[in-house]
Amino acid sequence: MLRYVITRLLSAAAMAVLATLVVFLIANTVPGDPVLAQLGDMAASNPQTVAEWRAKWGLDLPLWQRYGIFLQGVVHGDLGISIASQRPVLDDIVQYAPATVELATIAFILALGLGIPLGIAAAVWRDSWVDATARAVSLIGVSSPTFWLAFVMLAVFYGGLQIAPGPGRLDPIAFPPDSVTGLFLVDSLLAGDWETFRDAAAHLVLPSIVLAAATIGLITRTTRAAMLETMQQDYVRVSRAKGLRERFIIFRHILPNALIPVVTLGGLAYANLLAGAVMTETVFSWPGLGRYTFRSAAALDFPAIMGITLVVSISYLLVNLLVDLSYALLDPRVRR
């Protein structure tokens, strides 16, 4: 077990270092010359100015040395300065992260809460109308373009029926709760401010449904497949032969074993929600990392894009690591 954990930790660390290399290479093999973009035509025509500028930003150094400097910065939490906001990229990320974490977490709970029961029902009543419905629902969820679904939900429930609040995390006139965690639901509860809590919760409904849509399908299908797989095991037949109640067999014997692959997928799905937030947040004007990513990409703000890519990929790696480790806890066979 210990050996497995150590190998897994080492490989994750190696991957993280390689990820920084990939990000560095993308940023530094941009076809356009940064000199021209930053200095303008006039200054760029003077070779001396260009040489000084290149020296100032270390662009005259060989690529591997620049990578060394970049890596040093990353280790110290320095991801560069955002061109658009003129602030350290890390500060921006820290500021926008809580909104995304809050949204993704609610969407994740929603996806699990709907996806797992739907998957169980589809497997238990295999080939029945329940199965067909679950299949259709999950396929539609997976096939809907997130950015479009977000638009439709806003147009129908906010613009048309006017039963949902508009974009953003709170009413435009409301004040955000005192920041402790940055998660409005938690912060407003801590402050005992029920009105803000209700407001924040209401604003979460539409975006979290939109964000969860694709994941619900994924979880339903995985749960269904895993349930069907487990149902064919000998020990299930034995339980039936012993005359155990069907309900008992399903929930106590099949489900716990069938949930193992769902755990793996669940971890990945959560990481994917963080990434999928790009579309949802853009449409819902949600002040999170997703919208920040979109804005940075639209403004070709490279330090910001690279910072985000690095931070998200490293959290992706961490989630994967946690999933693998919890997998080892759940399934003794992996530990070998």
């Binding site: 950015f147 806003l154 853009t282 990929s313 992706y316």
Partner: protein, 287 residues
């Protein structure tokens, strides 16, 4: 726990079972074929020039003259929708086919070579897979600059690893077979064994899965376009069309129909894929 037990309904008749299992796949195939036809025939069936600007008739609701209304520049939404099928399908198929070609090559070589080559190639795929696809594609697309070709290149970079893994797994199965051992004993060159023996035997499921992945590629391409990194305006593309109508809640038709087009084509591929996966999976078939 007491009381109600879960009842299992009697097995439906064979015909109904077939319909339930493969009916959706048939519908999916129909949708995909229909869109392929639209893409092919767009220049002849589109009622207007998709790029024709007619500001006097901007933002007209759907009517007999403009079936799906007009956009903010007075362009006919229906014509743009039909033309949009071309770029979406083209991008989807290009990304998936080229990605699969490269991925299969990498995976097969890794499986056949084993040892450090296998290790190196698989770590490379792991490396790409440790980035969330949309974010990495976004970063690369931004670095390369806006444009259909660059977006396709960016997507290719994130697309091939899954095929590499799949191809490697399929090739490993074949590698253990006796006929490959026989070929090795006969002294055939590795390239020949791979190309003439392993690939033809492993290619079946691969080709099918590749085609079905087109839906995913289409939705991702539309997403990047929506974010402004895909096509260069005024190219009619569904993701970009949704983006153009994003703020127009009153003029709902501008964003709604291109979104429905994406939904239907992706749903078509996914319906099809679901049926084919069932059919490929011997366990599901025998039951």
């Amino acid at each position: 726990m007491s009381g109600a037990s879960i009842t299992i309904p009697a097995a439906p008749s064979r015909r109904r079972r077939m319909w339930r299992r493969y009916g959706l796949a048939g519908i999916g195939a129909g949708i995909v074929l229909a869109w392929l036809l639209v893409a092919l025939l767009a220049p002849w069936i589109a009622p207007y020039n998709p790029d024709f600007v007619d500001v006097a008739n901007r933002l007209q609701p759907p009517s007999a003259t403009h079936w799906l209304g007009t956009d903010a520049l007075g362009r006919d939404c229906f014509s743009r929708l039909l033309w949009g099928a071309r770029i979406s399908l083209l991008a989807g198929f290009t990304v998936v086919l080229l990605g699969a070609l490269f991925g299969t090559f990498v995976g097969m070589v890794a499986a056949y070579a084993r040892g450090w080559v296998d290790e190196a190639l698989m770590r490379l795929t792991d490396l790409v897979l440790c980035f969330p696809p949309i974010i990495l594609a976004l970063a690369i697309a931004a670095a390369l600059g806006i444009g259909t070709r660059n977006t396709i290149i960016a997507m290719l970079v994130v697309w091939w690893p899954k095929f590499a893994r799949l191809a490697r797994a399929l090739a490993l199965v074949q590698r253990g077979q006796e006929y490959v051992e026989a070929a090795v004993v006969l002294g055939l060159k590795p390239a020949r064994i791979l190309g003439r023996h392993i690939v033809p035997n492993a290619i079946g499921p691969l080709v099918v899965l590749v085609t079905l992945d087109v839906g995913n590629a289409i939705i991702t391409f539309a997403g990047l376009s929506f974010l402004g990194l895909g096509v260069v305006p005024p190219t009619p593309e569904w993701g970009a069309m949704v983006a153009e109508g994003r703020e127009l809640v009153e003029q709902w038709w501008v964003a709604t129909f291109p979104g429905l087009a994406i939904l239907s084509i992706v749903l078509g591929f996914n319906f099809l894929g679901d049926g084919v996966r069932d059919w490929l999976d011997p366990k599901a078939r025998s039951r």
